[in-house]
């Protein structure tokens, strides 16, 4: 694990354009440091998911420079991308569970992809299932799980490999407040072990729960306050109106 002072992600004048459309992200310049906890916020359509896609290597930027784990993504050989992706855990907004695999197999998938033997997989998977409170649903298919349960499976799959970076897109959108807090505790525990966490959320209360978290706010594809984009600690005044800009309701814990 890199020491916490190392930059793990570096963006310089990054722009992202889908096809010939307008830029979804423009002029992003920031640095994320290893072992930190970041919240990414902003109204719907501000480009949060696009920024996360760049972070979990589902997209290459159209311009600018992105450095990840010290390597320039623009020049990185394609065959090295899988290795990078294995170091990044992702909680997708729509979970993206494999529909015909059980909860167990979905969570075990990153370990199998990494080449771990079946005999070594059972214990960590059962532990994490226990952790997210799904021990009783080991063999359940995603379709038979509630939204909240699916989200917990998605989170368990993202963290099972103890990634260097965890990227989560609205990871608590479908769970009850108790579970949201519990999941946040899991993220915190991972963060304490050195994982850099980036959580996109509208949930102001969630943001205030992590005292040492820093914030980025996107608006219209740009960091709304580039100089003060990474704040520590978040000021309540900054968060006023951040969460409700697209009509979502904050849920009290």
């Amino acid at each position: 694990m890199a020491p916490s002072v190392d930059s793990i992600v570096q963006f310089e004048n990054v722009g992202l354009r889908y096809g010939t459309g307008p830029e979804a992200l423009s002029d992003l310049s920031f640095t994320l440091f290893a072992g930190q906890f970041y919240f990414l916020t902003g109204p719907s359509g501000a480009g949060k998911s696009s920024l996360l896609k760049l972070l979990y290597l589902a997209q290459r930027p159209s311009r600018g420079m992105v450095r990840l784990f010290g390597s320039d993504l623009m020049t990185l050989a394609r065959d090295r991308l899988p290795g990078f992706r294995r170091r990044i855990g992702v909680v997708f907004q729509d979970f993206r569970l494999v529909p015909h695999l059980s909860a167990f197999d979905n969570i075990a998938l990153p370990l199998r992809i990494a080449g771990m033997r079946d005999s070594d997989i059972a214990t960590p998977v059962r532990e994490i299932l226990d952790w997210v409170g799904l021990s009783a649903r080991v063999d359940a298919l995603p379709a038979t799980l509630s939204g909240g349960e699916q989200q917990r499976v998605a989170i368990a799959r993202a963290v099972i490999t103890r990634p260097d970076i965890l990227v989560a897109d609205e990871p608590t959108g479908n769970v009850d407040p108790d579970m949201a807090v519990k999941l946040l505790r899991l993220f915190e525990a991972l963060n304490r072990m050195g994982t850099t966490i980036i959580v996109a959320t509208h949930d102001v209360h969630l943001m205030t729960r992590i005292r040492r978290a820093q914030m980025m706010r996107l608006e219209g594809g740009r960091l709304s306050d580039p100089t003060g984009a990474l704040r520590y600690p978040p000021r309540p005044a900054d968060m006023h109106g951040w969460a409700d800009t697209d009509g979502r309701q904050d849920r009290p814990f």
């Binding site: 979990y56 290597l57 589902a58 997209q59 290459r60 394609r78 065959d79 991308l81 899988p82 290795g83 990078f84 992706r85 294995r86 992702v90 993206r96 569970l97 494999v98 529909p99 015909h100 695999l101 197999d105 998938l109 990153p110 199998r112 992809i113 990494a114 080449g115 033997r117 079946d118 799959r157």
Partner: protein
């Protein structure tokens, strides 16, 4: 495990597909059946051509047609000497008058004598290889002076149209095998593409979780290999009795002049390679198709 050669229970679950329900194994079975028949035809025609070649093309007959038996005998001896000295000739045999008479008995009756009907002197000539036009021309030239009444007939010459037909049919069979291979490739490509499209969601997820293109391609390769293997088995089960019956029918067709093409051990070995080659072709095509499709992803 995603890296092992044979699909594990987990791999099968990852890209699920009920066995023998898709068109793939059946298409493979039909292709394999037809390919086996075409290959067998090509091999049988090949061996027939070889046999005809060996039986006849390496031989010629020299006839000396002269009514005067003395002159005929003299010329025959001279021709023999010319033939013996030629480097392409491996052996000669003067056909005795009794033999010639025996050959003619069905037409002339047993009472005919040489005095009634002058019979030509016949010399059987065996060549080192098939008598080429050059060797024949050379012999004709040499015989012109030694035995002016000599006429040389290469046996291959009589059968030229038969050879031509056999060769044409053989090339046709080879072309059929090639076309069938092409059609198999195309159908595997379509099948791999549709399977890839049907599982695109799973592939995207695996991709984002750090699967390499090789790992994903391997899943499809194994799936197609299983389908192809089952199709091949089915195709073989259909083709073997048909081939056996054809081989039996052909062996009864023995015309005396040309023995019908039959399978040597090497031919059976080649036939056994057809299903293996079919499976290999399917796996290779699936791999190339899937890797090509994956190349479009980041």
């Amino acid at each position: 495990m995603l890296g092992s050669f044979f699909p594990t229970r987990h791999d099968r679950r990852l890209i699920p597909q009920a066995r023998l329900t898709g068109p793939m194994p059946w298409v493979m079975a039909v292709m394999l059946f037809l390919t086996l028949l075409a290959t067998a035809a090509a091999l049988a025609l090949g061996s027939a051509a070889r046999q005809v070649n060996a039986d006849l093309a390496g031989r010629a007959t020299v006839q000396i047609v002269n009514a005067d038996s003395e002159a005929r005998q003299k010329q025959a001896l001279a021709a023999e000497a010319v033939l013996r000295s030629d480097r392409a000739v491996t052996g000669i045999r003067q056909v005795s008058e009794a033999e010639v008479r025996a050959l003619l008995t069905p037409w002339l009756g047993s009472g005919a004598t040489s005095r009634d009907i002058p019979l030509p002197a016949l010399i059987d000539v065996d060549f080192r290889t098939a008598a080429g036009p050059a060797a024949l021309a050379r012999l004709r030239e040499a015989l012109k002076t030694a035995a002016p009444d000599a006429r040389i007939d290469a046996h291959g010459q009589w059968l030229k149209p038969v050879f031509g037909l056999i060769a044409t049919l053989r090339w046709l069979a080879i072309a059929l095998v090639a076309l069938l291979a092409l059609a198999t490739t195309a159908s595997v490509m379509l099948s791999a593409r549709s399977s890839f499209a049907a599982h695109s969601e799973t592939i995207d997820i695996m991709h984002l979780l750090g699967s390499t293109h090789q790992q994903i391609a391997r899943l499809f390769q194994r799936r197609i290999a299983l389908d192809a293997a089952m199709g091949a088995l089915l195709g073989c089960l259909l083709a073997v009795p048909v081939l056996w019956m054809l081989a039996r029918a052909a062996s009864q067709l023995d015309s005396g002049l040309v023995s019908a093409g039959s399978f040597a051990a090497i031919d059976w070995l080649l036939l056994a390679c057809v299903p293996i080659a079919g499976i290999a072709l399917a796996v290779f095509t699936a791999r190339v198709t899937v890797l090509g499709a994956l190349r479009k992803k980041l």
